[in-house]
Symmetry: C2
Subunit: 347 residues, 2 copies
């Protein structure tokens, strides 16, 4: 039965298919030749009835709330935290493995939080058929941090993000475009999706601020790093900033390690790390940029240098990364997790 | 004579008047009612002959290279490092105090590097009639860092910048506008001023990278912080990134101090610091933004919080700042220096 599933493909649900990540799910499934036997595309009642093409066939979007998940194998969820909280357990209880892109279950102890390049084995530790996809900024930082952590022992990381609007969904992408057009015509910015103008501006990530002064996005980066690296002693500080770019996040990262860090070794480790591409051409001033990180899956890493400000500069490293928020930061990572489940079934 | 100069105003030169900072010089001089008796507006031969209005009069732009500086008191230079290097000594030797906005003389031991809120007394230590205006990103970081450094003793600072295009001059401002229009029409970015597309993109500051992997902008921030704070033991690391905003830089700043840092005291110190305005409204998610920092002189400071990643979190602080690169980062700071020279003359 399990082998059969793998050979013929799985019965797959994509929930939240009309969103920015939902659309990317379909693109990534297509590109990676993900084996699908039966496919259900779900969204809110507002989008039900829409026709979406996939692999030469047309699918009618169904309402997530009314959908009967029995007989399905895997569900990729990206319908927001509230919807996940309400609906994912219903799917999980029906035997569907839910890969959830929201933050709803990430910190639950019985829900694995998985980056396939980092902790693929955690997929097997799921106890309730739910696997969480980490926050996009966390994924983009941890893919290159992982080989360095394994080798040198990460003690502290300070991150400043440059986050694209795609993290706030399809309407935010449209807002950046339309608002920029308005501002260029000399008209008011008129922000609707974001609380502040985003055209030719930037602002602190507009999630709730906690008592320690961290916004929720930063808190996710801190907590999720601890959970994924299974080490709460790592010092993590993040400043999350939204910038007027469309779909790739960038991050300035300063690190300190337990061991002295050899720069040649760093380049060697990053050079062979899965999901990482070094873009670090000092002579031609070519480093990671959101435009070049977009529409592909690698996390670009550059500006690799020692951090001379650290108490022990020989143990400290600074670098700059960029990664596609919708792909490796969301859809690709989730599909990779689904592929791990496929592998497990074929074993 | 000196008193007379002060009452009637000084004979002032503005060199590089057609540039982005040059134009801002005139605006700031006007706003601050800077006392001017005679005014000469200088630029490259390309701009000579242009008519520029100031305080209801019209001035003809003259060629900097041919200008006879004798009889002038102060010259505000913003014509690029090469021009400053070639021309400023000629003015200084003729008895003109040159306030130079370029990086040409900043690290010369006999040239004071002055932020009036930080080290106004350094103005008197000039030995060759040249005073240097610091790098814009340095000024924007150090104005709020100074009161904290004095009180708690800065040991380390890690900075990630979000730099507006204005730092690259008037043509860069035009490039961001035109390129964004082109990209929105679906056309190629066609970068000319910058080596990479700036519309809906960001990239590592395109200045030369040294052997340690730091670009010149970052190296300026490191060196100038040491010089202005007169303490080479302070650990400084910077990652300088150009973002698609027009005129205000933002910076994410992580600090460690010799003394434990009380957050209420930090707010008190920043609240009364000259040139600083606290914008730190957690409830309404309102923090420093380039748009609000623009066209005014205060450095906006917010996201003030403890940095839990530091070895001693009680001594560590994170915050986010924004300041107008053309004003406090350049023109206003230079005019303030000129005002210090005026005060000195009236004593």
């Amino acid at each position: 039965m399990t082998r059969e599933t793998n050979l013929e493909g799985v019965n797959l649900v994509v929930a939240g298919v009309t969103g920015a990540v939902g659309q990317e799910f379909l693109r990534v499934l297509e590109e990676r030749n993900f084996p699908i036997r039966r496919l259900a595309l779900l969204a809110s009642p507002r989008s039900a009835g829409k026709i979406i093409p996939f692999r030469g066939k047309e699918y009618t979007v169904e309402t997530l709330e009314n959908f009967d998940p029995s007989g399905y194998d895997i569900a990729l969820f990206s319908a927001g935290g509230g919807v996940s909280k309400a609906q994912a357990p219903r799917f999980a209880d029906a035997g569907v493995v839910v890969v959830d892109n929201s933050s709803a279950f990430r910190m639950e102890p019985d829900v694995p939080l998985v980056i396939p390049e980092v902790n693929p084995e955690s997929v097997n530790k799921r106890k309730r058929n739910i696997i969480a996809n980490p926050n996009c900024s966390t994924i983009i930082a941890l893919v290159p941090l992982w080989p360095l952590h394994r080798h040198f022992g990460l003690k502290r990381v300070v991150i400043a993000t440059y986050q694209a609007v795609s993290g706030a969904g399809a309407r935010a992408l449209e807002e950046l475009r339309r608002q920029t057009e308005r501002v260029l015509r000399g008209e008011d910015a008129r922000p609707e999706v974001f609380p502040h103008p985003i055209a030719f501006n930037l602002f602190s990530h507009n999630s709730e601020i906690d008592d320690e002064g961290f916004n929720l996005e930063e808190r996710k980066m801190i907590r999720e790093t601890h959970k994924i690296f299974e080490d709460e002693t790592i010092g993590v500080c993040a400043t999350c900033i939204r910038v007027p770019t469309f779909r790739s996040h960038a991050e300035a990262i300063n690190t300190e390690f337990a061991e002295p860090v050899d720069l040649e070794e760093v380049r060697f480790l990053l050079g062979k790390a899965p999901g990482v591409r070094i873009v670090d051409d000092r002579a031609s001033n070519h480093f990671p940029m959101p435009l070049e990180a977009s529409d592909q899956d690698d996390i670009l890493v550059g500006r690799i240098r020692r951090d001379p400000s650290a108490p022990r500069p020989e143990n400290a490293l600074a670098f700059f990364v960029a990664g596609d928020q919708l792909r490796k930061g969301a859809a690709t990572n989730a599909v990779q997790i689904a592929e791990l489940i496929l592998q497990e079934r074929s074993r």
